[in-house]
């Protein structure tokens, strides 16, 4: 059973990546990037397929067999002859590698220290995600996990990519050991830094990849959120996968549709991870269309999001109770909140205060805002940058209009939202800075920035 599950994860991930890239991996950076993407896709597909199988009453063994078979078929069908272009050469100084090694060691130490201090994970881990995994494993009827009689704190309307993976891990382990959610959380943490770092290295050279990894690993909140076993870091991984694939696709003159399909698939898995993922998928599609005017490319992205998106639709219509933000809202409340100047002022104050919230983000947020406002805003807009801007802007009306006390909701949610967006924001910002300081030496003109192309 364990071997079959591992095969299903590995083959589906490898098959999707093989189908999404039009050429063969050319060097270690390229291979490492594809392995990281494959791991994220494999885990996500394994969990999404579990949800679909539970809803239609198919056993986990049959589901894994089908997944492994489909993955193997994709792998065999997509055997490109051409090699990809070499990764650009912009070597990083040795001291930067040492700093990255120290950052990795510290992040791992913080992960285990926090895990020891909070043995059941963060609040949301036991209140939402691992609670759902327990329901999935223990309840004789699937619908019990989404009972409308559960208090809204359990968020029974949330999609269940993470609980689905944890529940399957519990079953495979034969007991509900905390090692399962810890391992899954750790894997997604590694992938969050790995995907962005390797995509930057692939696009601009190793120096920029290392800077991307440092900008993720040394955010003080990052290893804590990984250790908390919540769904925010997995969501950030799928957003980063989608952003990386869009960036890679538009850095090529042929702009392969299959890469955009795969980017859409990643965005769909994000939507199956957390409700915010649907917003990010829509923002990526809007950013793509706005910055590239490439309707066919945008449609390919949307088509890629359809499988996981359909799962979200079926779950929301057939299983999930109403979301608390909807359930507790009224027309009068929405109007009152929209025209309350104190609420606007409070939101502005809380947002500005968070920018300089040293405890959680050290100097990273303020540095990002400075970089965006001083340098990056002068550069041409990009699909990913535009998508992140749209997503951030969308949170303004959401915070203003939602029914909970503003200060409480902002305090308990904004760090999670920032962490969800952070890896993709690091990708977009560092790629823009790399473009701004000039092109490093390129391996081949085929991989060069297309004149007038939107970059990242």
């Amino acid at each position: 059973m364990i071997l079959l599950a591992l095969l299903a994860i590995a083959l589906s991930g490898a098959g999707l990546v093989a189908a999404g890239f039009p050429d063969r991996a050319v060097d270690r950076t390229d291979r490492a990037l594809r392995i990281s993407l494959g791991a994220a896709f494999g885990l996500g597909s394994w969990s999404a397929a579990y949800a679909a199988a539970r809803m239609v009453g198919v056993s986990a063994t049959v589901k894994d067999l089908v997944l492994a078979f489909l993955g193997a078929a994709l792998l065999l069908a997509a055997r490109p002859r051409l090699s990809a272009d070499p990764t650009p050469r912009d070597p990083a100084p040795r001291w930067l590698w040492s700093l990255l090694a120290a950052a990795c060691a510290l992040a791992v130490a913080v992960f285990f220290e926090h895990d020891w201090r909070f043995p059941d994970g963060g609040w949301d881990a036991w209140m939402v995600w691992n609670l759902r995994a327990r329901f999935l494993v223990r309840a004789p009827d699937l619908r019990t996990a989404f009972s409308p009689n559960l208090l809204f704190w359990a968020h029974p309307d949330y999609p269940w990519l993470v609980p689905g993976a944890v529940a399957q891990g519990f079953v495979l382990a034969g007991r509900e050991t905390m090692a399962v959610p810890q391992m899954i959380a750790g894997t997604f943490g590694v992938l969050a830094a790995g995907v962005v770092s390797l995509a930057l290295a692939r696009l601009h050279g190793p120096r920029w990849g290392l800077l991307g990894a440092l900008a993720i690993l040394t955010v003080p909140a990052f290893p804590i959120f990984v250790s908390n076993q919540q769904a925010d870091v997995p969501l950030s991984v799928y957003l980063a996968c989608a952003a990386s694939l869009i960036a890679l696709a538009y850095a090529r003159p042929d702009r392969p549709f299959r890469m955009l399909l795969l980017a859409g698939f990643a965005a769909g898995l994000g939507a199956w991870t957390k409700n915010e993922g649907t917003l990010y998928a829509a923002c990526l599609a809007a950013g793509l269309l706005a910055r590239t005017r490439d309707l066919r490319g945008t449609l390919a992205f949307v088509a890629g999001a359809v499988p996981a998106g359909a799962l979200v639709v079926v779950f929301k219509t057939a299983y999930a109770p109403a979301n608390d933000l909807v359930r507790f809202s009224s027309g009068a409340g929405l109007l009152a909140h929209a025209f309350d100047p104190l609420r606007w002022g409070e939101l502005l104050f809380q947002a500005l205060r968070r920018l300089v919230f040293f405890q959680t983000f050290a100097l990273w947020l303020i540095a990002a805002v400075l970089a965006l406002s001083v340098w990056v805003r002068r550069l041409p807009g990009t699909p990913v940058g535009t998508a992140l801007f749209l997503a951030t802007a969308a949170y303004l009306p959401i915070y203003l209009l939602q029914p909970h006390p503003l200060q409480w909701l902002f305090r308990t949610s904004v760090d999670r939202l920032i962490l969800q967006l952070w890896p993709a924001a690091v990708l977009a910002t560092i790629a823009a800075l790399a473009n701004a300081v000039g092109r490093p030496s390129r391996g081949s003109p085929r991989f060069s920035q297309v004149p007038g192309s939107p970059g990242v």
Binding site: D120, N149, F152, W153, T218, P405, A436
Partner: protein, 138 residues
């Protein structure tokens, strides 16, 4: 702006972030914070007394937020409720339902059990630890 300057700036930001994380986790927290208890042991005994699935009532001496009103002031009661829900899943706990055939009492202050019994007209079926008991309506 050069690649070297950007590298240096990111390195400085990274060092500041690492110092902050190192200070919090390996200096400040060991001095001022404590290790949380595992959730399940508190509920192990009562779990054996309850059905494996279905719904049961839940009462407590701490208020649980059931909507936006007073959400910030009820975190202790909410935490107690949600921890019980986590431990006892797939049983669904119905907050403040004191008419259910079985009711879980989960109290922050065990001394308040007689007061709760009187107020809610419940009787004890079995106590399963300090502040935790299975009740039923009188």
């Amino acid at each position: 702006m050069t690649a070297q300057r950007i590298t240096a700036a990111v390195a400085v930001l990274a060092v500041v972030g690492m110092l902050r994380a190192g200070w919090l986790h390996f200096v400040s927290e060991p001095l001022h914070d404590f290790r949380r208890e595992r959730i399940d042991p508190r509920y192990a005994a009562i779990k054996a007394l309850l059905p494996r699935s279905g719904e049961v009532g839940y009462v407590s001496d701490e208020r649980v937020a059931t909507g936006p009103f007073g959400i910030d002031a009820s975190s202790a009661g909410t935490r107690l409720f949600e921890q019980a829900q986590y431990a006892l899943a797939p049983l669904v706990l119905r907050y403040d339902d004191d008419h259910a055939p079985l009711v879980v009492a989960n109290l922050a202050d065990p001394a308040k059990l007689p007061e709760i019994l009187l107020q809610k007209r419940l009787i004890v079926i079995a106590e399963a630890g300090p502040g935790i008991a299975v009740l039923r309506p009188q």
